[in-house]
Symmetry: C2
Subunit: 282 residues, 2 copies
């Protein structure tokens, strides 16, 4: 994502790929959901800079295969993408459709603007750090899809059709650093730590977990929250004198660093590694 | 490509994919040339709207394979892309690097601006139509690469490292319609005809062919010019009272249409089909 100089407000520009067998598998997601998700993933980067969307381009490359019809795939994909675009008030201004030799490739680019763009580099020691929503819900949803499908629809929807948190834009004004947690809470804390030259002390007990994720696999729920990724929730830091906004949960504080330390549920402190999750077991 | 409303000038936004075995083959192009070409192809869309570049994002997905090292591929790809970005004065503001299961997948998105954006929809009956450069040079270069490699470097460079025609930006002010000929002259004439609700009368004898292409395969040179594509030259129309600018060659005129008619080298008139060229014989 980039901030480009413009007149009144700053221009934002970002792109995100989704590749079959790497980021998704047609066994678990429909073309319509895929169209929704491809736009959501990219648009979330705009929200994570406190930006609004202007336009998106979509590049889609499809193989000729027996497991789907190209025509209906394209139609359903654009229906899903178009419905979300309408909701997000962003114009889909074209893009590219091509043949692919093997796998499905999707790349969405978004242009947006912000009068007050937020970066990951503004956190200071003493700031609180807070997260929106319930991190780990997407990973729990995928786990459920790959296995039992016994849980509520809510987890699966978090994974298949996540909604960029445009509803939070009004409360981001005082964020000192901002990022979305698409790579997982642990990785994103490290991203802010590196860019802001700080560290973190995180309290595992304060991380808000989705009740259905806890029910589904109590021993995995915290790991999903820390390392699962694909949540498209926001992680923000704020100065001590600024109250943490509604719909965010404080999970710790910014330190001199550079370590990212977590106090586990049993009270033991350990270094929090920035590792992600390999959902498709490659 | 899209025109977005901005303050002083209009914002332009476009994206272009390049997929292995569909758009290129590593047998004939180096990673450095590929980086150059991926940006050139997308940037050309900005020039074809009379725009200047602001920023580009690059999405690159690479498989793990024995025929190249991932690290050196990435390094060389970005060297080629970076060198052209510098020349075009556009910022590469990041993007995405991912694993791909099989083929190499590249998608470049560009944002630009124009105080006087040109569309394909402004041509009127009576306008002249003109093309820059020597269409067909890229197709001739690929033919040469796939076969003898006996010709001059010039044709191969047209195919491997095309240069978007930013040098022509100063003379595009009075274009009534403008497009690049990436899909081939015939297809692009049809694009303007459709968008402007006009037709064309083209004189084959006036189409400027590259002397090396004529030398390489005299019987193919006109076909390459009409259907070869990947030339990144500009096709423009202009009002009769406006002189055709230097470095453009008038090849015919705009008619009421809707047919696109060409007078062949033997003087016979025929309908010019919008078909492209299948270079990799799929």
């Amino acid at each position: 994502t980039a901030v480009l100089s413009s007149s009144k407000s700053k221009l934002l520009f970002c792109s995100d790929m989704m590749i079959e067998s790497v980021h998704f598998n047609l066994e678990f997601i429909t073309p319509r959901e895929l169209g929704h998700k491809a736009l959501a993933v990219c648009f979330s980067d705009l929200v994570a800079m406190n930006g609004r969307g202007l336009a998106a381009t979509v590049s889609l490359a499809l193989p000729i295969r027996e497991d789907f019809s190209k025509e209906s795939f394209v139609e359903e994909f654009y229906e899903g993408l178009g419905a979300l675009a309408k909701q997000l008030e962003i114009d889909c201004v074209g893009g590219d459709l091509s043949f692919s030799p093997n796998s499905i490739f999707i790349d969405v680019a978004c242009v947006g603007e912000s009068s007050n763009p937020k970066l990951r580099s503004g956190a200071s020691p003493g700031d609180w750090v807070a997260v929106s929503g319930t991190p780990g819900a997407s990973a729990a949803g995928l786990y459920d899809l790959q296995r039992s499908q016994q849980t509520t629809l809510s987890l699966r929807q978090q994974h298949l059709t996540p909604l960029p948190r445009i509803d939070l834009l009004p409360v981001l004004t005082h964020a000192t650093a901002l990022i979305d947690i698409s790579d997982g809470l642990a990785s994103e804390l490290h991203h802010i730590a590196k860019a802001s030259k700080v560290g973190f002390e995180i309290d595992a007990a304060r991380i808000p977990l989705h009740p259905d994720a806890v029910k589904l696999a109590p021993e995995r729920a915290l790991d999903w929250a820390l390392h699962g990724g694909e949540d498209y929730e926001l992680l923000m830091t704020g100065a001590p004198e600024t109250p943490c906004p509604l719909r965010f949960t404080v999970i710790g504080r910014v330190t001199e660093g550079p370590e990212v330390v977590i106090t586990d549920l049993n009270g033991a402190k350990r270094l929090l590694e920035p590792r992600g999750y390999d959902h498709f077991g490659r």
